[in-house]
Amino acid sequence: MNIDTIKKEFPIFDEKIQNNDLVYLDSANSSQKPKVVTDRINEFYTKEFSNVGRSVHYLAVAATNLYENTRTSVQRFINAKDKNEIVFTKGATEALNLVANTLGQNYLQDGDEVLITELEHHSNYVPWHFLRKSKNIKINFAEINDDCEVTLEEIEKRITSRTKIISITHLSNVTGAILPIKEITELAHSKGIIVVVDGCQGAPHLRLDMQDLDCDFYAISCHKMYGPTGLGVLYGKKKWLEELPPYQGGGGMINEVKKDKISYGDLPNKFEAGTMATAQVIAFDQSIKFLEKIGMDNVVKHEADLVEYGQELLQKNNSVKLIGNPKNKGGVLSFTIEGIHPHDVATILDEDGVAIRAGHHCCQILHDKLNISASSRASVGVYNTREDLDKLNDSINNCKKIFNTK
């Protein structure tokens, strides 16, 4: 599949959005969906629907097989050792809550420390914050440097004898900084520390290899990787998933239920209580195959070209200030414009058909550190082109014209 013509695979780009061609630069928030994915949802509901893992009738067995096929695809996509290390959740947020909650129950002791970074999305901070109260856990923050990245040396500096978990983003959703997960994991494991990775921005934009990264947990958001909403993936090393208690109780996660005792199911069922997002899981198989068809190396190359081009354009634009300059950077361009608030920027850009995000992007710690309340963020996906970034730049100039700034 040629990446230069990929836009055609996404029906939304045939639509006029408020009379404009859509320039979608909000993929770090959520990506658009290729036709193969939406078709699959429709097809499953109209021709193949059944719940999975329960009944023995034909449709139930077929749906269960399709559901499990996606698990195998995810395993292949992230190169996990075992299929049962893949747990479906309702999102990456639930995946991170699952990890924090169950590690909190079974592993962390009063006074233990969790090390996160100033780059973290709220969903990789708030779940750990819960443990401050319930378990008296201390949370430490590895700080960003002037380029808005977090280095291995900084992580090393923040590790203490009480550090039990390091929970970090793979790719910052604000600065685009890519963290050296493999090196951090190696360091952490040498000290007996567990590594949890928020892979929301990593999974859609980087080639993943769990066995090479060697982290203990990796959380994925499916709607950011050209898949359906309401679905996430938690990768966890088998030994951990086996050791940890279930997160939610209900149907499907049990082995045997008696009045006086309950035993839980095997992996991955133990962590998949209740009716799961069946159609979404089945359609997500198409998202993975779509990315595999393009090839993750091509995705990385394409997006690196876009971000470099965008960076150059915006750097040349007076009064635009890019946030961070990480050496290893993914497809995110966050910026401020002197004298124009990000919300005004986003409204004016929207009028030109350019969809970006304005606000703190669920990263208030980072914005506080940068001493700003909000920023504008343009983020790219496989369907973006250099022309999209030209339109972004033109529309920024339109903002400056309206606000009469230089």
Binding site: H341, P342, T347, E351, A358, H360, Q364, S373
Partner: protein
Amino acid sequence: MNLKELYQEIILEHGKNPRNLGKTDNFNKDAKGHNPLCGDNVHVYLKLNGQRIVEDISFEGSGCAISMASASIMTDLIKGKNEHEAKEIVEDFLGMIKENPELNSENLKEDEKTKLMCLSGVKQYPMRVKCATLSWHTLISAIDNTQEEINTERMD
């Protein structure tokens, strides 16, 4: 949708040079407001004298052009009004921003109404209505001394 209607000259001017910005001396009532969606904060201070007249009013805060202009115009209009009139004007403004085609308050002069109507362009931008209303809700909280921080996500 019309950007020109939203970003009228008067809005841009008030947004850039907000009136009554800062903490007024001798204030005896104040309240804070917060918009968690965009992180905007506002703090409204006012001095209500013995006759229940707003002798002075000011605000501190940071935010988009719409929120700054709205707070600026609000403080300009409310100064000199009595407590009852102020509350009635707030109600009228909130009604206009939500649904009413025009302002009906008898406590506003025609030129004041014209000025306030400059904010009506925000009606077409539902995501931005809260930018315009934050300081007004906060003013009511200050007058009523509720000591409660206004949070736009907990309002209609």
